[in-house]
């Protein structure tokens, strides 16, 4: 809600920033999470997807064809660690606006995937 020229208007936060002459600052985090998982990268990502689907009810979770899983706006990718084929490195990336969920996911995935997935 901004007041300008003696009138009140409801605008998006981004628009409000612009009208106030301020620049938005994007704060992003990318976290590397090591995972012991002997499956292929694609299988690991599918297992991450299944795991997150079962834990996070009510969230929008997508498995995208470009090899990423998205939870709301948080991006999860799998890269193999070069030294050890059984170790995968998950990359989680989120913005400050998704801080709670990003922090939760990084802690959750650090615990590994449940057996039997």
């Amino acid at each position: 809600l901004i007041m300008k020229d003696n009138s009140l208007r409801l605008v998006s936060p981004e628009q409000a920033l612009k009208e106030l002459g301020l620049n938005e600052h994007q704060l992003r985090f990318t976290c590397r999470v090591q995972l012991q998982d002997p499956h292929s990268d694609t299988d690991t990502l599918s297992r991450v997807y299944t795991h997150l689907k079962s834990v996070l009810k009510g969230y929008t979770i997508q498995h995208l064809p470009d090899g990423t899983v998205m939870v709301e706006s948080i991006v999860v990718k799998v890269t193999a660690s070069s030294e050890d084929p059984n170790t995968k490195v998950l990359l989680l990336s989120w913005s400050y606006q998704d801080e709670e969920l990003g922090s939760f996911l990084s802690t959750l995935l650090r615990k590994g995937l449940p057996t039997g997935l």
């Binding site: 936060p13 301020l22 938005e24 994007q26 985090f29 990318t30 969920l101 922090s103 939760f104």
Partner: protein
């Protein structure tokens, strides 16, 4: 952390920029002293060597890339937020 967070209203937007020298001084005060600074077209990349962490500082954004070290990430987040305004 057993329960996922509620879907909350989004966090406030951030505004401003993180100035290099004062930020380095703040890191220093928090015991992060081995920092290699590289200039880029839009800002700087800070390599926190002991922590194996990268911080990209640009005029309109900051990107923190670290291993899954939640206490360190939270500290760096809070230090960055000191220089920004919340709206």
């Amino acid at each position: 952390v057993e329960e996922p967070p509620e879907l909350l209203a989004p966090k406030p937007l951030l505004s401003g920029a993180v100035p290099l020298e004062p930020f380095l001084a703040t890191l220093n005060k928090h015991g992060i002293t081995e920092v290699k600074v590289e200039d880029t077209a839009d800002g700087h990349i800070l390599h926190l060597q002991a922590e194996d962490t990268l911080i990209q500082l640009d005029e309109d954004g900051t990107h923190i890339v670290c291993d899954n070290n939640e206490p360190l990430r939270a500290t760096l987040r809070d230090l960055v937020l000191r220089f920004l305004q919340k709206l």
